[in-house]
């Protein structure tokens, strides 16, 4: 009897010891976390028609990185005044734009450029900013934080601030092993890569789940065609710069940048020439995605057009010639071009209206309401 009791005690001791060890190990890993590798973002998915994409090998998409990036994106401590976050100029409800002609940051001075939509950034031109001066999302991420007119934050001061926050210490540790400028940039880039808009009416149409109205379908056909009067093909000329599924600029080399005739030679901005130094790139700006374009007014790199109707009017009969104007825009016309005739698409009012009807099918209400992209500091109430 005593032997059985001793044996039972012995087994109990082993079980308790193992349980304690497991508990201690779990606790060590939980609190220390440096032994756990970050978790690959298994649920990430994108439509087949968007095509290939690349995630940098040194910044894989992980649950931890995206969680950290989302928090940083919405944290006003990223600005010198602790009053502005990335989300100040990139508002989810506006497809991550801000509704302003050009952004206004820490200095209160209007910036040179309209806030770009942050949508489907894994595809399209892999150079960022309207003039393409950042070669990756990681290279882009810190520039607005440091810029005195934007968020005006000293990066060393930011890191010091983050190190005082126990939650950030854990989040950085889990995602990147340390708090650093590189980790801030990588985390922001990771979150931005997850901002995929793929459930607009156009997406549903592409998946065969819905039909477009007659106006939308007419607009789609015009969007997808360069006009050719020789074969009686009328076109809105949009696809020459905006790809058929992504509606973004092209990803190859600098093919996703264009001079779309906003200004005549003497007023032409530098654009891509700032990045390449090539005079042939003067006046060329990044072709943005048109996903959610209904929500991203005002339009163009300097926000000069308040409505889509103004945009269509520009492309129809407002083009200003310059040396680097796209030949595709200069040549496109739905009528026989006369001698010395101004550049004009000569679309009808109905055609312009129908192209806008198609553009509105690019609105993705799920995207702008997706809780995974929302401010994590706000506790939603039912």
């Amino acid at each position: 009897m005593a032997e059985r009791r001793d044996a039972r005690r012995g087994r109990t001791a082993v079980v308790v010891s193992l349980a304690s060890a497991a508990f201690a190990l779990t606790g060590y890993l939980w609190w220390g976390n440096h032994e756990l590798p970050p978790t690959p973002l298994a649920e990430f998915e994108a439509p087949f028609v968007f095509g290939r994409f690349n995630v940098p090998a040194d910044n894989p998409l992980t649950v931890e990185a995206v969680q950290l990036g989302r928090r940083l994106f919405y944290d006003p401590r990223l600005s010198g005044t602790n009053a502005l976050s990335c989300a100040t100029c990139h508002v989810q409800a506006l497809a991550f734009t801000d509704g302003k002609r050009t952004a206004i940051g820490a200095s209160g001075r209007p910036l040179d450029f309209n806030s770009m939509s942050l949508t489907n950034l894994l595809w399209g031109p892999q150079r960022f900013f309207w003039n393409g001066r950042a070669a990756s999302l990681e290279a882009q991420a810190l520039q607005p934080i440091e810029h005195p007119d934007e968020m005006d934050q000293d990066l060393d001061a930011l890191l010091a601030e983050l190190e005082t926050d126990a939650q950030y210490v854990v989040l950085f540790e889990r995602a990147y092993g340390e708090i650093s400028q590189t980790a801030v940039a990588r985390a922001l880039a990771s979150f931005e890569r997850t901002l995929v808009s793929a459930n607009s009416k156009y997406d549903q149409y592409l998946r065969g789940e819905t039909k477009l109205t007659a106006e939308e379908e007419h607009g789609r056909k015009l969007f997808m065609a360069h006009p050719d009067i020789k074969v009686s093909l009328r076109g809105g000329n949009c696809i020459d710069c905006h790809s058929q599924f992504l509606t973004s600029g092209f990803s190859t080399a600098y093919d996703g940048f264009s001079n779309n005739g906003l200004d005549a030679e003497e007023e032409l901005g530098e654009g891509l020439q700032v990045t390449t130094g090539d005079p042939a790139h003067r006046g060329m700006f990044k072709v943005p995605t048109l996903r959610n374009v209904e929500l991203t007014a005002p339009y163009m790199h300097d926000g000069r057009f308040a409505t889509l109707e103004e945009v269509l009017a520009h492309y129809d009969h407002g083009i200003k010639p310059s040396r680097t104007l796209s030949p595709l825009i200069a040549e496109a016309d739905n009528r026989v071009k006369g001698v010395d005739q101004d550049i004009s698409l000569h679309l009808t009012v109905t055609e312009q209206r129908d192209i806008i009807a198609f553009l509105r099918t690019l609105t993705d209400r799920d995207f702008v309401a997706n809780p995974a992209f929302a401010n994590p500091f706000v506790v939603s109430t039912p």
């Binding site: 028609v49 968007f50 095509g51 058929q244 599924f245 973004s248 092209f250 080399a253 200069a330």
Partner: protein
Amino acid sequence: MNGRTKVALGVAALLAVVLALLWYRDVSRPGSLTLEFRARSDGGPLVLNEFAYDNPGGAGRVKVRDFQFFVSNVRLGGAAGQFVEPDSYHLLRFDNAERAFTIQLTGVPRLEYDYLEFLVGVDADANASIRAVGDLDPNGRMAWNWEVGYKFVLFEGGLLVDDVQIPLVYHVGFDASARRVRFDLGTLFADAPDERRMFDVDVMRLFDGETPIDMQALSNVKFDRDDARRIASNFSRLIEYMPPAS
């Protein structure tokens, strides 16, 4: 035969076996063939963004702003066998400092080939698909739309005539436009497993066939099939093989 002779013969035999094995390993190793395409016109490297070339069939000077084209279905063939490059869709472009583009064929069996062959353009199956294979990209600049397929050759630029600039847009596609071209590269892999062969690409030859084209009269080619055929008839003149100096 004394002991020393036996040892010497043994060592010689062993050496022969080792050398034979090394030779076999070398000749059985697949080769690689680099095809280098250099854009050249008027006897020099392609000049972009300047009115650098004569209008072959009319007045004015021509500016090349963008020039890209597809090469697909690259293969080496001959009596001894053939090598077919997998996923063989290449978008050749020359807007780099070297004005050059290379295609590298790897894992090529070192056989005697009679010719190198490829399409200038895209084969009909791939042209009707939205699968992204090789350099094919349905969201790319060369895609018209999924109902029409790809542009095979893209030339965009301008023509300056009497101080007036005329936009030039040549987007040449359609299945019927693709042209199969073939080159005799001579003996490959005779001396080494890695070979490089050079080709000159002259964009202006697209307009300088049997009947030179006046680029003012035909300043754009898009969806008109007769116009596309006219340019495509010069696809086979676009690329010239430049044999290595013997």
